[in-house]
Amino acid sequence: MSGAPIDVLGRIALFAELDDDELERVARLFKERRFSEGETIIQQGSGAAAFFVIDSGEATVFVDGKEQRVLKPGDHFGEMALIDAGTRTATVSASSDLACSGVTFWDFRPLVEENGVIGWKLLQSLIEIYRSERQQ
């Protein structure tokens, strides 16, 4: 069965409040996806479908055409898509052949809707993220 590594998910701020069983349930939703070097994974301004965790390889983040940072194994991107399926705020391109684990909005939402505990913990994490950004 495919899935994202639980230890990686546990380090993501959005999932910080989930226990191991809950992380396991989230992890099982992930599917493997591969990208070739140079391939655009997500495009700034486009609709958003999925959140990705990098298993191997590297990717580069661009905002308004300017390079922001390099992502490595264990890093993640696109998590806002899980909640609002809105538009992408950055472009991410594969700097090498890349293997990711990804989960779509469609797969994530039913888990949260069926499980109020996970939903509540996600809300707590979002508030924590919001507070820390307000303090910066």
């Binding site: 599917k31 493997e32 486009s46 609709g47 958003a48 479908a49 999925a50 779509t104 909005f105």
Partner: protein, 272 residues
């Protein structure tokens, strides 16, 4: 209900997608479709999640097809008269064998769940979860292939419009060549033959995948369809309209002297 069926048994477009159901109907009506297998959206989802039981179920029917294979998306909601998902979902040509099928199915699942596919769905007003079935067929290696409209898509005239090039039809579909352009009236009379500029052909590779090859200079501007082939295509247009109705967008191929129907969908944009 089985998640994996021979293509001729694909009845329900809500399970197998419009492409599979359409090709299944074509086979049941005796149209020349390459043999294949239809997979439901649920089984493709399971294979993408690396469900081993699902994969065994798929292999049981796909392995006897041999190889190489053409693996095409058949999404529920796709190829309907209201919205064509042309170019949104994936076709993988020349998957060399059944053992290479799982990664191909995973790629197709992601093509239906990509940012661009989701954006397209939002734009055409489809807010339901994507479900992508798959058609797995024997890959034909054609000498000539292309597309045919059973009604002129630009003028709306009651005539067949055929575009053709050498090798696999992807060269025409992807706009890689200027194809030959033919118009044939409903009685089968050829109204126009305009040679294109067909400098490349896409061919399948023995180890899987495809390659773009240069075409011999003397063939670049030579018409790639003979009179009898135009007559066969005209007859195929008649048969497709009998089975599916008017205003059809057809993909076809000629391999070893046999004309095959690869895809048939409703034209979603027509001249007023």
């Amino acid at each position: 209900m089985s998640e994996v069926v021979p293509l001729i048994e694909a009845l329900d477009s809500a399970l197998y997608g419009s492409k599979a159901a359409g090709l299944g109907q074509a086979l049941r009506d005796g149209l020349p479709v390459p043999p294949g297998v239809a997979l439901t959206g649920d089984v493709v989802d399971a294979v993408a999640s690396r469900d081993e039981q699902a994969m065994r179920q798929v292999m049981e029917l796909v392995r006897p097809l041999g190889g190489p294979l053409a693996v095409r998306s058949s999404a529920v909601d796709e190829d309907g008269a209201g919205a064509s998902f042309a170019g949104q979902h994936l076709t993988l040509l020349n998957v060399s064998s059944a053992d290479q099928l799982a990664p191909a199915l995973s790629e197709i699942w992601w093509s239906a769940n990509s940012d661009s596919a989701i954006t397209y769905r939002q734009r055409v007003g489809l807010f339901t979860r994507p479900s992508v079935g798959v058609v797995v067929q024997v890959l034909v290696s054609p000498e000539t292939a292309g597309v045919m409209f059973t009604q002129n898509p630009v003028t709306g005239a009651d005539e067949r419009v055929i575009e053709a090039s050498w090798g696999l039809g992807e060269a025409v579909v992807a706009g890689l060549v200027i194809p030959d352009h033919y118009r044939v009236d409903r009685a089968g009379n050829v109204l126009e033959r305009t040679a294109g500029r067909k400098s490349i052909a896409i061919r399948s590779l023995p180890e899987g995948g495809t390659v773009e090859e240069g075409v011999a200079p003397e063939l670049v501007e030579r018409l790639c369809l003979e009179e009898d082939q135009l007559a066969e295509l005209s007859h195929l247009a008649d048969r497709c309209e009998e089975v599916y109705g008017r205003a059809r967008d057809i993909e076809w191929a000629v391999a070893d002297g046999t004309l095959y129907l690869l895809q048939c969908r409703a034209v979603t944009t027509s001249a007023p």
